[in-house]
């Protein structure tokens, strides 16, 4: 039997994991994506479900950890981490982008916060928030604002975090930063910096080595460095695996004998199995409202609420719009946006043989990176299976 052709629609965490696992199972894989999705906007923290202090600690499964290792930019497995959000909340996370500083080991110690002002990051206010946080208080972790001359120059204050991170990729720049961090004063237990420690280069790792204490960053704003690192690592992983990657917006999916054909612009891609990992509403995968091709609004996948793919909300099928303009959010609450999605039994799209789904595209699953990866791995394996 020849290896099945698998088409993955979506290049976020779920789609990448699906392509990786289908490839490992021997399938010939093509991945089609339409640019940044939720994963490209995420904060750098890896959760199984939106975090809360109360959640029971749980470990990531082996395959997810293996995927993280293959991707090469994440720390996952072992003890949960304690990371600082952009606004100074100290929150638990199962895993993290390796540039994020894990504060868990620094109970009772003093962490230095580099005083470099950026429009998305105010170290003074950050220190205030960190010191007031319940975790820091009970762990007796202290935070100290330290002047680091030359860390950012004034003209960089208004650059986006993403563009700034790109500048830190320059080896001369990171050497300069290392010197500035070691310049004076007693060495702190760790350094906490803004969310710009490199895109393609492990700047946090380089600095940690050069400075002699852990150097890391706070979590990223939406569309910041963490998402950029994911996209870069994804492209490298897929290239290494020999997955062919195409850019385009899928607008239609239809049956083609025993398989499927997906239309994207003027291209048609045929495959025996298709994994739908086109994300939730924020990725543009699921379109609300009727598909009205005459309108540019409906960059609609046919998984529209009016379309053919089975959608579900709170366990009920969604088969028509409640109003002319889409869903009535006054009546239903805007939260439905994070619950609506494809109806699936496990990885299989309900009632559509050869069609699989993963990640935010599926209804009623927690919207989080590790959930998307676990689902992607399962969908990729199922699609590649006999």
């Amino acid at each position: 039997m020849t290896a099945p052709r698998v088409l993955v629609v979506g290049g976020g965490a779920a789609g990448t994991a699906a392509a990786w696992s289908a490839g490992r199972a021997g399938a010939r894989v093509t991945l089609l994506h339409a640019g940044p999705g939720a994963t490209a906007l995420y904060s750098g923290a890896l959760d199984r479900e939106p975090w809360s202090e109360r959640a029971r600690p749980s470990a990531a499964d082996e395959l997810t950890v293996a995927f993280a290792v293959a991707l090469g930019i994440w720390r996952l497995g072992g003890q949960p981490a304690r990371i600082s959000t952009l606004h100074g909340e100290l929150r638990p996370a199962l895993g993290r982008d390796r540039a994020l500083l894990d504060l868990a080991p620094f109970a009772g110690k003093c962490v230095a916060v580099a005083d470099a002002l950026h429009r998305e990051h105010d170290p003074r206010l950050l220190v205030r928030a960190l010191e007031a946080s319940p975790w820091a208080r009970s762990a007796r972790t202290r935070f100290e604002l330290r002047d680091v001359p030359g860390l950012l120059d004034e003209s960089e204050q208004n650059l986006s975090s993403y563009d700034l991170a790109k500048r830190f990729d320059d080896p001369e720049r990171s050497a300069l930063v290392a010197r500035a961090l070691t310049a004076g004063g007693e060495a702190p237990a760790a350094w906490l910096l803004g969310p710009w420690l490199g895109l393609e280069v492990d700047v946090a790792g380089l600095l940690t080595e050069a400075v002699g204490v852990p150097v890391g960053e706070v979590s990223s704003p939406p569309g910041g460095a963490a998402g950029g690192r994911f996209e870069w690592a994804r492209d490298r992983l897929l290239a290494d695996q020999g997955v062919s990657v195409e850019r385009g917006v899928a607008t239609e999916i239809s049956r083609d004998g025993a398989g499927w054909v997906v239309t994207a612009g003027d291209r048609q891609v045929a495959a025996e199995r298709v994994v739908l990992a086109f994300g939730g509403v924020q990725a543009g995968g699921i379109c609300l409202g009727a598909v009205r091709p005459e309108e540019p609004l409906s960059l609609a996948f046919r998984a529209s609420l009016a379309g053919e793919l089975p959608l579900e909300l709170d366990g009920e099928p969604v088969d028509r719009n409640s109003t002319l303009f889409g869903v009535d959010f006054v009546a239903r609450g805007v939260d439905v946006l994070s619950r609506v999605g494809l109806a699936a039994d496990g990885a299989a799209v309900r009632g559509c043989s050869g069609l699989y789904a993963a990640g935010d595209a599926i209804a009623g699953r927690p919207r989080a990176v590790l959930e998307a990866i676990a689902a992607g791995i399962a969908a990729g394996a199922a699609a590649a299976g006999a």
Partner: protein, 557 residues
């Protein structure tokens, strides 16, 4: 003082209840005439109709045929307001197209022309330009996006203002002239002497829970649509200060679609408008009787769609824009029985409640943004006569804070790290007082940081409005600066603003975070009615951002 009293001296001469355009206007006028004033505002300054109006300092051509007196006073006062707050006014040229499918379109056009001939007589009062009659070709050239079947149209000229900034200006001026202003402080009772005279108010601070009483010689009920409720606080029947509450909403779109404001007819024949506002577009407005909670006025889906559809009929690309928010308020219209909402007069009235047995209590009923100054002056005349004050009237010549001299936005950018757009917005909101905000940036360059990127608002301005304009919450900052009202809905800036505010007010970071969340909740409630396919993505993104920053809701075990 003409009022003899054996009692202890009252805390002040005049107590004003309500911080809308009328309340702040009276407080300012009284303070200018040397009276001591205490103003109480239940929510925030400009929280009511004044901060949620269409913001037109118009002469109201719609009143011309049945109430020309309103047109005259409004035009006259529009001129005065331009003089005292030039920075806050902007010209709004309107286009009123006439469409072919209407019966007798040519006749209608002729009628418009004649009508605006009449209106032109009032234009010089407010430095307005006379109307121009336009051919179909002219219209197409001016606004290519208009539907093509117009036979022609007319232009007419109006002025716009940021109503909230107008109220803040009056408030700041009153404070600088000795008035005491308490925001987030509701009046819970109007105190009376044994013989029924109003002697003061009992109040409660809704943020801190603190309460107390303040005594005065005169009490002014300037609570707009709340007026009947306020009258009841003095033991009067609500009809003693009766208003007809007319709810109006606006929808705003993420982009500037037109260069002119455009008049359109809604499905029921009412006139609505589509208007450019800075980098956005605004569609307004509705007018419906409203008997709901005045502290929580939000647009319904029906109202929003009514407006969007009306605008779409004349300007189809409205549909391609993303509706990013709504605002709504309740007009305190003079009571009239059984009249269609639109036919009610906007004229105002002072009710002396001596005739209901409460001497010393007055209610200001009705009025418009455009005629607030005259209304406040009439009220202050009554108070002054009562208290034997003979000081000159000065509100038509004495500039509002920042209105004293023009500053060049480009000059403002010298020596501080802000761009010209940021400076221009700052200058618009603060006039010459923008220099004070700039001065902060010179003292502390980190305050030049832009916090809200959509609008744009700097840290210096946030700290300035917290220190000098009584902003206590993120919502208050937003009302004064427009922070968080752009296309991202506060997703990127609300938490940052909360942290800065908490710092400026020496409160815990947790307080700042809660204030930010309350703002985001409120903003979401104002958006829910317009979440269509395009806005849904933004909302989903905002939900994810909040969850990754603040975690999931933890239900208490």
């Amino acid at each position: 003082m003409s009022v003899e009293s054996s009692e202890a001296r009252p805390d002040c001469d005049v107590i004003v209840i309500g911080g809308g355009v009328n309340g702040t206007g009276v407080a300012r006028d009284c303070a200018l005439r040397g009276l001591s004033v205490a103003l109480f505002e239940r929510n925030d300054i400009a929280f009511g109709a004044s901060g949620n109006s269409s913001g037109m300092i118009h002469g109201g051509p719609r009143y011309l045929t049945y109430d020309p007196e309103v047109t005259h006073t409004s035009c006259l006062d529009s001129g005065h307001i331009q003089r005292i707050a030039p920075h806050l006014l902007f010209r709004i040229p309107f286009l009123a197209p006439v469409y072919r499918q209407r019966r007798g379109a040519k006749l209608t056009l002729f009628g418009y022309d004649a009508f605006f001939d009449l209106y032109d007589k009032y234009q010089p009062l407010k430095r307005g330009k006379p109307h121009v009659r336009l051919s179909a070709d002219d219209l197409r050239r001016l606004e290519p996006g208009l539907v093509a079947d117009a036979v022609g149209g007319v232009t007419f000229d109006e002025w716009g203002i940021d109503g909230a900034r107008l109220c803040i200006g009056s408030m700041v001026d009153a404070i600088e002239r000795g008035a005491t202003v308490r925001v987030h402080t509701t009046v819970s009772e109007v105190l009376k002497s044994d013989d029924g005279r109003a002697t003061g108010v009992r109040w409660r601070d809704r943020l801190t829970g603190e309460s107390g009483t303040t005594t005065g010689l005169v009490v002014v009920n300037a609570t707009g649509a709340w007026a009947p409720i306020t009258a009841a606080l003095a033991g009067l029947p609500p009809r003693a200060a009766r208003v007809r509450p007319g709810k109006g909403i606006h929808v705003f779109l993420d982009r500037r679609l037109t260069n002119y404001a455009i008049v359109a007819s809604a499905i029921d024949g009412r006139q609505v408008f589509l208007m450019p506002w800075q980098n956005m577009s605004v569609i307004g407005t509705t007018d419906d009787d409203y008997y709901g909670d005045l502290d929580a006025v939000v647009a319904s889906a029906d109202e929003s769609r009514y407006l969007i559809q009306a605008a779409e009929r004349v300007f189809p690309s409205v549909r391609q824009a993303r509706a990013i928010g709504t605002w709504g308020g309740v007009r305190p219209t003079l009571w009239g029985w059984g009249v269609n909402e639109d036919k009610l007069s906007r004229e105002h009235e002072i009710v002396d409640h001596a005739r209901h047995g409460v001497d010393g209590l007055y209610s200001m009923i009705g009025g418009k943004l455009a005629s607030y100054r005259i209304f406040a002056e009439e009220m202050t005349d009554v108070i002054a006569a009562r208290l034997g004050n003979t000081a000159q009237r000065r509100t038509h010549v004495s500039p509002l804070p920042g209105g004293d001299e023009a500053v060049d936005p480009f000059e403002l950018t010298r020596g501080v790290a802000i761009d010209a757009l940021t400076a221009a917005r700052l200058e618009y909101r603060h006039g010459s007082r923008a220099l004070r905000v700039i001065e902060r940036m010179k003292q502390s360059p980190r305050e030049a940081r832009v916090v809200c990127e959509c609008e744009p608002v700097t840290e210096a301005e946030i700290r300035y409005v917290a220190e000098h304009e009584l902003a206590c919450t993120v919502d208050d900052v937003s009302r004064r600066t427009r922070l968080g009202l752009g296309s991202c809905g506060g997703m990127r800036c609300a938490l940052r603003c909360g942290a800065i505010l908490a710092d400026a007010r020496q409160q815990s970071p947790e307080r700042g975070r809660r204030s930010a969340l309350a703002f985001l909740d409120g903003a979401l409630a104002r958006r829910l009615s317009i979440v269509g396919p395009a806005q849904a993505r933004q909302e989903a993104l905002a939900l994810s951002v909040l969850r990754s920053e603040l975690g999931a809701d933890e239900e208490s075990a």
